[in-house]
């Protein structure tokens, strides 16, 4: 497994460097923004639950999201590299077989995501210290990490079965279709379980958000995404041979 992982790191060195540099730049942007906020404007540590603390929370959440989202755009390169019949036949002839080949890709993406999470955690710690401990976005990080894993879990089987380019298109189509179905349901379906007062749907929605019920479903998300990543890996191993037959020579 370590050999296959090494191969992935070697082939996708530039993609890995791009990922880490992006995460570091996102972190540095936040740190410098906080630093200049102090020195140029003479801002004192922000008060908790104030407008400036909301600004910091929004800015840092956006930066963390960007740090996780940008590398996922380049994930196709991981599959492009050995997406031909010769490479696939060679991968299947290895002692670890197709299973090891596919699992190594999952491990690679997991290590990449953990790398980003670590950089963002260090950024958040420095930011928390700079802002006098009044604002911290650390709680958002596990959720962003989970979202990243969940999207990868959905994306990879498609890329393995149909090839990186077509897989991305099909995944985009599926995600769009799901969103469309959800939108249609929320527009025309029965949502009384969700919003009781239809005269004031926004007010009812805000009340639902504040009720605390959402916390349970939000808390389940990291566990669901980890399970989805594991199941996705198992599915990808099963469909690898079928996908490999459709690749070009």
């Amino acid at each position: 497994m370590s050999g296959l992982l090494y191969k992935n790191f070697r082939i996708n060195r530039s993609s890995m460097i791009f990922t880490l540099v992006t995460a570091i730049l996102c972190g540095l942007t936040l740190i410098f923004a906080a630093l200049f906020g102090y020195t140029l404007r003479g801002v004192t540590p922000v008060e908790p639950a104030s407008a400036s603390s909301t600004d910091v929370l929004t800015a840092s959440s956006a930066c963390y999201f960007l740090a996780f989202w940008l590398p996922s755009m380049a994930s196709a390169t991981l599959f492009h590299a050995d997406e031909n019949k010769t490479c696939c036949a060679f991968a299947m002839s290895l002692p670890q077989g197709a299973k090891g080949h596919v699992e190594a890709k999952y491990y690679y993406l997991l290590i990449q995501a953990l790398g980003i999470l670590f950089i963002m955690f260090i950024t958040d710690t420095i930011l928390t210290a700079m802002l006098g401990g009044t604002v911290s976005t650390t709680a958002v990080l596990p959720l962003l990490f989970s979202l990243h894993l969940f999207l990868a879990a959905v994306e990879i089987p498609f890329m393995i079965l149909f090839g990186a380019d077509r897989g991305l298109q099909i995944k985009g189509g599926v995600v769009l279709a799901v969103f469309a179905m959800v939108a249609v349901y929320f527009l025309f379906g029965d949502i009384s379980w969700f919003i009781e007062n239809e005269d004031d749907p926004l007010g009812a929605f805000m009340a639902w958000l504040g009720s605390g019920d959402i916390i349970f479903w939000l808390a389940l998300f990291p566990y669901i995404s980890i399970a989805a990543y594991y199941i996705s890996c198992k599915i990808s191993v099963k469909i690898y041979r079928k996908g490999a037959e459709s690749y070009e020579q």
Partner: protein, 299 residues
């Protein structure tokens, strides 16, 4: 003493000096800067400083591990960085379940010893969808705590313990390792970490309790590391243990009256049931470790 053992001792000493030095310098400097024990202070600036010392300080043993390997030209074999999950998933599951069970059981013992007059159902009456959700979110936060936890584990279980086990029998190595690990926390304990500063026998009782706790935890973590030949299960144990304390269990699931009673307890009092649970884990882990050790000698 053979030349191999001499080299191991030399490497171990270099590692320990590098691991111990930062806290021995930083904590007294911060104490003199803020003018009070930093972990017992209510000054908001010290709270931030404590958080940073906690996060970055926990990474010191890993850095010491890395530097020792570079200084002594040891190379990077047997770093315990592989996953080795094949046939070992039970140990990985135990690395999450055991500390979780340990915290839950300790919370039950705290109720049994200190919540006199209050029934279990009355004390822990806050089991609703919101509190379970908050608990699950806190548990997921172990993902973040994993990084500093890994920082400690790669040093202690990934470097110190294999070296100690080269020098002495396993049971002795576990006890020596636990005491060293406990003493590493001593500057923090003196500054009020975990127990505060106003308890009888300060700071020696605190340091002693820390050594006891670390020895018990060390047995379990060394067992997991030895069985899986990987450092990650020990890091999971450390992350979950640091993330879900007795206080956290009470915060999510108990009522206000129980929280007030808990607030009236000293940290040392709260620690005693926890040590009791850890003692059981220590005995079981030592049995497994020694069994394995005897088999190795027979072979």
């Amino acid at each position: 003493m053979s030349s191999d053992k001499k080299l191991t001792v030399k490497r171990l000493v270099i590692f320990l000096v590098l691991a111990f030095l930062p806290f021995c310098i930083i904590v007294p400097v911060m104490w003199s800067y803020f003018g009070e024990p930093i972990y017992a202070s209510e000054n908001p600036d010290t709270v931030v400083a404590n958080y940073c010392v906690g996060v970055f300080g926990m990474m010191v043993p890993s850095i010491a591990h890395l530097l020792t390997r570079l200084i002594t030209k040891e190379g990077f074999r047997n770093t315990y960085l592989g996953l080795n999950t094949k046939g070992k998933m039970g140990y990985y599951a135990a690395s999450v379940i055991v500390p979780l069970a340990c915290s839950s059981l300790s919370a039950v013992l705290v109720w049994a010893f200190f919540m006199n007059g209050s029934g279990f159902g009355d004390t822990f009456n806050n089991f609703n969808i919101q509190s379970i959700g908050l608990f699950l979110l806190q548990f997921a936060y172990s993902l973040i705590v994993f990084f500093p936890a890994f920082g400690e584990e790669w040093g202690w279980r990934g470097y110190m313990m294999p070296k100690l086990m080269e020098l002495m029998p396993k049971p002795l190595a576990v006890i020596a390792g636990g005491i060293i690990w406990g003493l590493w926390h001593a500057p923090l304990t003196v500054a009020g970490h975990n127990f505060g500063v106003d308890y009888p026998g300060y700071p020696f009782v605190g340091i002693g309790l820390m050594c006891l706790m670390c020895t018990a935890m060390n047995a379990f973590m060394t067992l997991l590391t030895e069985k899986t030949k990987s450092i990650y299960p020990a890091a999971f144990v450390h992350a979950v243990n640091n993330n879900l304390s007795i206080g956290v269990m009470f915060t999510f699931f108990s009522n206000e009256e129980a929280m007030m009673k808990l607030g009236g307890l000293s940290a040392v009092e709260m620690f005693i049931p926890y040590i009791g649970v850890l003692a059981v884990i220590f005995i079981i882990s030592m049995v497994f470790l020694t069994k394995n050790h005897e088999l190795t000698i027979d072979n």
